[in-house]
């Protein structure tokens, strides 16, 4: 007998393996999208479907040591950004949700307005209508009324708004520590495992961790020379 091809999850039916759509758009922070894809690659049970926008390709080449082609290879399936006929354009193609990282304010506006231009906008539109999880990682500061109202409207629809804001309770020592922590917080939103995440469990634990690790606490003093 054939094994069942679909799983039942909180938001409906899903494919027999966790299947995640990853969109990368033209906001700064391409390294975040790349780190997420690398982390997901280490979770072999997760199938990743990647769309790079035109300007994501530019920020990848600008901000990371990778080429866009190398980033594409980190995913199981990759689609051109203008391919409106791709599988992820249809709700009948089962997925466990979508993350857009980094997410430009233009993409936020497009998703909010339902203006499904390009495959990233259409895939997000589908994820919303099918009531599947949608996670946006908007990298922008400061935020205008336009930005805030668009984000607010999406939050009202149940979208997770996860701006890439470094945390400091885990005493990040490097930019890599910050990237790993942000990726873990995105995985948390998608119910995917992040076993290496450093989590806040109260001040007492934090104190004893600091005492046991001389490097865990950034001592006050002059800035590190850059």
């Amino acid at each position: 007998m054939r094994a069942p091809r679909h799983r039942r999850i909180a938001t409906g039916w899903a494919a027999d393996v966790p299947r995640l759509i990853v969109g990368m758009t033209g906001a700064s922070g391409a390294a975040l999208g790349v780190r997420l894809l690398e982390t997901l690659r280490a979770l072999p049970e997760v199938e990743t479907h990647l769309v790079l926008s035109r300007w994501a390709r530019t920020t990848i080449e600008l901000e990371t040591p990778y080429t866009a082609r190398e980033v594409t290879k980190l995913a199981d399936v990759a689609y051109p950004p203008g391919d409106q006929a791709a599988a992820i354009s249809s709700g009948s193609f089962l997925t466990d949700g979508m993350v857009v990282v980094p997410c430009s304010m233009k993409t936020v506006a497009g998703i909010r307005a339902g203006y499904a231009e390009g495959l990233i906008g259409r895939a997000a539109d589908v994820v919303l209508k099918e009531r599947r999880p949608l996670v946006l990682v908007p990298r922008e500061t400061p935020l205008s009324e336009v930005h805030l109202e668009n984000l607010l409207a999406l939050a009202r629809m149940g979208v997770a708004i996860v701006p890439p804001m470094p945390a400091f309770y885990h005493h990040p020592a490097t930019v890599d520590d910050i990237l790993d922590h942000l990726v873990a917080r995105v995985l948390d939103q998608l119910n995917l495992p992040a076993p290496d995440a450093r989590r806040w469990t109260g001040l007492a634990d934090a104190r004893s961790a600091a005492e046991n690790s001389p490097t865990a606490t950034a001592a006050p003093g002059p800035r590190a020379s850059s």
């Binding site: 700064s28 040591p65 500061t141 009202r156 930019v175 950034a218 006050p220 850059s226």
Partner: protein, 210 residues
């Protein structure tokens, strides 16, 4: 110098208090700034203590800066009669860095329970700049509603999100860039930050090694 400005700075209970130190250092060292009125909330003290390994007691300026500074006047957050409680007190505007989302909620609601919230209330009613450097992720619906409300009332929500186009190679570089951008935003432009000017800027090429 009469054209120097007084800047109010509040440090509240969110992560990233090292950035408050960078910002305060920059203000103290800036000839365009005559005085800094500093307030540190009780939660802010705890976060500073956690992030630096110092004690949470002591002078506010020592806690944030690691030393004294003549330009800095400190106020107790529970002192609702302190100078910044009145619009008549000279102030160019106010920075809250880092800004806890509870503080944003109380500013949005106008519940001036502490001198920090009252000073923010005053900045809004006097139509002075109020910049809230929030540190939180994810944002809930409540956070976004409150941030929208304070923005409509004239504040600027300035999340402590790094830039990546400047290719930061250390945590302090992220903080320095944020500080320089923030000070530029409030009209104190800095000379040593990365101004994005397309893909061929020298700073970009240098850090990429291309």
């Amino acid at each position: 110098m009469t054209d120097q400005r007084n800047v109010t700075v509040a440090v509240t209970g969110a992560g990233g208090t090292r950035i408050a130190r960078f910002v305060l250092e920059a203000l103290v060292n800036d000839d365009r700034v005559g005085q800094v009125d500093l307030m540190v909330s009780a939660s802010g003290r705890k976060v500073i203590a956690h992030e630096t390994g110092c004690e949470s007691v002591g002078e506010a300026v020592e806690l944030v800066l690691g030393g004294a500074a003549k330009k800095v006047v400190t106020w107790q957050p529970e002192d609702l009669a302190g100078g910044p409680t009145s619009g008549s007190y000279p102030s160019w505007g106010m920075l809250v860095v880092p800004c806890a989302l509870g503080v944003v909620g109380r500013i949005a609601a106008g519940t001036a329970n502490t001198l920090i919230e009252r000073a923010a209330d005053v900045a809004l009613k006097e139509r002075r700049p109020l910049v809230l450097c929030v540190r939180e992720t994810p944002f809930s619906l409540i956070h976004l509603r409150n941030m929208t409300q304070v923005t409509e009332a004239g504040a600027t929500v300035y999340p402590m999100i790094p830039t990546f186009y400047n290719m930061p190679t250390s945590v302090d570089q992220i903080h320095e860039e944020f500080t320089a951008r923030l000070l530029g935003f409030i009209g104190l432009p800095q000379s040593d930050y990365y101004a994005y000017a397309g893909t061929q800027t020298p700073a970009h090429r240098d850090r990429m090694g291309r």
